[in-house]
């Protein structure tokens, strides 16, 4: 079973839940938050890096007739045709391949541009994470590359938000754990995340983190019939262990229970 840990709002405890769930149940861990990967702060070991490239076009100015077909088919305004040359902005380019496909002069070829890397860490458990290059706009192709390394049983630590990176991260999961905290911000974003996982027709449940803060979030889960898988207390010990990149050994049983509960659901 592949379990995605997502949330909507950032900072609710996705990483804490994902890392400890994987570690204490000896599961493979995939960090799909390639913009800001943090699972590596908790799991160390021998690391193998593989660069990930995406194709971007280059123009052979000798062959280019300045006809402007490439600019016309490019939907992302990544191409400008000047008086004497055609200029491509690789950072805006979505690597769709339309310009090279339609160029009548065959003046456009594609070269590889590194968009990030996939790192496989062989520690006490296996961790695979992606790291997006600074300035690259879309994490989605890199998320796909990381997912290719997923075993049959794995924990996916997903990026925050409810747009395309989050959707790409949860779409191959068999179950989604939404991590929420008892605050109005988290409740608001949880509702959005619930909409997404329902749309994707994924079974899901909620883990309430920082349980004990006075705002009520359980009422919403109850009303919507969403199973609350576990409640992790609001505790300075947990915050402090997290801040140092340490695992929650005192809560080992809690994470074993969460996994058992997920297997039942």
């Amino acid at each position: 079973m592949r379990i995605a840990v997502a949330s909507g709002k950032g900072g609710t405890g996705k990483t804490t839940i994902a890392v400890n769930l994987a570690f204490f149940n000896r599961l493979q861990l995939l960090d799909l938050d390639v913009e800001e990967p943090n699972d590596r702060c908790f799991i160390s070991g021998e690391a193998k890096e593989s660069p990930v490239f995406r194709p971007v076009p280059v123009v052979d100015q000798e062959k280019c007739s300045l006809c402007g077909k490439c600019r016309e088919v490019c939907q992302f305004n990544a191409i400008v045709v000047l008086k004497d040359s055609t200029v491509i902005f690789p950072e805006i380019c979505h690597s769709c391949g339309a310009c090279s496909y339609f160029c009548p002069e065959e003046a456009i070829t594609e070269v590889n541009r590194q968009m990030g890397k996939v790192v496989e860490v062989n520690g006490e458990i296996k961790l695979v994470y992606g790291e997006l290059e600074i300035g690259e706009a879309s994490p989605v192709p890199l998320i796909r590359e990381v997912k290719k390394r997923a075993g049959k049983t794995a924990i996916f630590d997903c990026p925050p938000g409810v747009s395309c990176p989050m959707v790409e991260s949860v779409r191959d999961a068999d179950f989604v754990v939404l991590v929420a905290e008892p605050t109005p911000f988290s409740l608001h974003d949880l509702k959005l995340a619930v909409e997404v996982v329902k749309e994707l027709e994924k079974p899901f449940g909620v883990v309430i983190n920082k349980y004990g803060l006075s705002f009520d979030i359980e009422g919403f889960c109850e009303k919507e019939g969403i199973p609350v898988i576990s409640k992790i207390p609001f505790s300075p010990d947990i915050a402090s262990a997290y801040s140092r990149g340490e695992l929650l050994f005192a809560y080992k049983d809690t994470f074993a229970d969460i996994y058992d509960r997920l297997m039942e659901l």
């Binding site: 909507g8 709002k9 950032g10 900072g11 609710t12 990483t15 938050d33 913009e35 800001e36 990967p37 943090n38 702060c41 088919v73 939907q75 992302f76 979505h94 690597s95 769709c96 391949g97 339309a98 496909y101 339609f102 997006l132 600074i134 300035g135 690259e136 706009a137 879309s138 994490p139 990026p159 925050p160 938000g161 409810v162 747009s163 395309c164 990176p165 959707v167 008892p182 605050t183 109005p184 911000f185 608001h188 974003d189 959005l192 995340a193 909409e195 997404v196 749309e199 994707l200 803060l213 006075s214 705002f215 300075p236 915050a239 402090s240 997290y242 801040s243 140092r244 990149g245």
Partner: protein
């Protein structure tokens, strides 16, 4: 007009709390929530919506009855957005609107259709005008929507002759954050004293540098791990970035937040005010 974007890289470090307090302290800034994907600023600032507009993002491909199932679109699409079968169809979430299939289809069986992918709100708060938006859950093009929000905020600022636009960005370093940073006058980075927080702060500072935007750092909840706070200061020194201030952890903030009693009061609020005064 000055544009200040609040960023963090990592989620949950306190961007929204700090932006909202800045807005309350400024009193006359135009406020733009550039987290269009999971926006929260409105929860604190309680805007009264004056106008709502649909956001039409890029177009998406749609396969019509004229399809002969030749498979060319499937072969060409690099986003795995074409679902093959007896009748071909398009996976809306994956389609990036590149129109390669539309232009290449020998049967002209593909149309590019505009889809409403969100809403934009022009509002008024007790602290100044606010522009915010909501992307439909699961949608893409959040970067485009952020640019639209910024465009409108700029327009409102010009109309009102406001001197400041305050922007609250999303977490991460991808397209919505890039769109929130582009051409800003300053990025305020909200960092938290955790190992993850430091890693994320470094990456988001490098992103701002990549786009040649100057940065200052605020260490939020610095006393939760004073050693890590010192490390943040060291990292900032190495990166030549000024630490503008430190805000203590204040257990009354989550309490005030649950009751939605805003502007916040207490020691964290006072520290944010001190940071605001030095920023101004």
């Amino acid at each position: 007009m000055r544009q200040i974007t609040v960023i963090s890289g990592k989620g949950g470090t306190g961007k929204t709390t700090i932006t909202a307090m800045f807005a309350a302290l400024a009193g006359d800034a135009v406020i733009a929530d550039c987290d269009v994907d999971a926006p929260n600023l409105h929860i604190l600032l309680k805007p009264r919506v004056l106008r709502e507009e649909p956001f039409v993002g890029s177009k998406k491909a749609f396969i019509t009855d004229a399809c002969t199932a030749c498979g060319l679109c499937y072969e060409l699409c690099r986003f795995n957005a074409i679902i093959p079968g007896e009748v071909y169809s398009v996976d809306d979430v994956r389609c990036e609107g590149c129109a390669l299939c539309f232009n290449a289809c020998p049967e002209k069986a593909i149309e590019m259709r505009t889809v409403q992918s969100g809403r934009i709100f022009l509002s008024e708060t007790d602290y100044g005008p606010m522009v915010h938006a909501l992307l439909n859950p699961g949608e893409e093009n959040s970067g485009m929507l952020v640019s639209e929000v910024r465009e409108r905020a700029k327009h409102v600022a010009e109309e009102r002759k406001a001197r400041l636009v305050l922007l609250d960005a999303a977490a991460g370093i991808g397209c919505p954050v890039i769109a929130s940073l582009a051409n800003a006058d300053l990025a305020v980075v909200v960092a938290e004293p955790t190992l993850s927080g430091i890693s994320d702060m470094e990456r988001v500072i490098r992103l701002a540098e990549h786009f040649r935007i100057g940065c200052v750092v605020i260490i939020n909840k610095y006393d939760l791990n004073p050693d890590m706070a010192v490390r943040i200061e060291e990292v900032c020194r190495e990166m030549n970035v000024e630490v503008l201030g430190k805000v203590p952890y204040d257990a009354s903030i989550p309490e005030q937040l649950s009751k939605l009693s805003f502007p916040f009061e207490g020691k964290a609020a006072r520290a944010i005010e001190a940071v605001w005064n030095s920023l101004r």
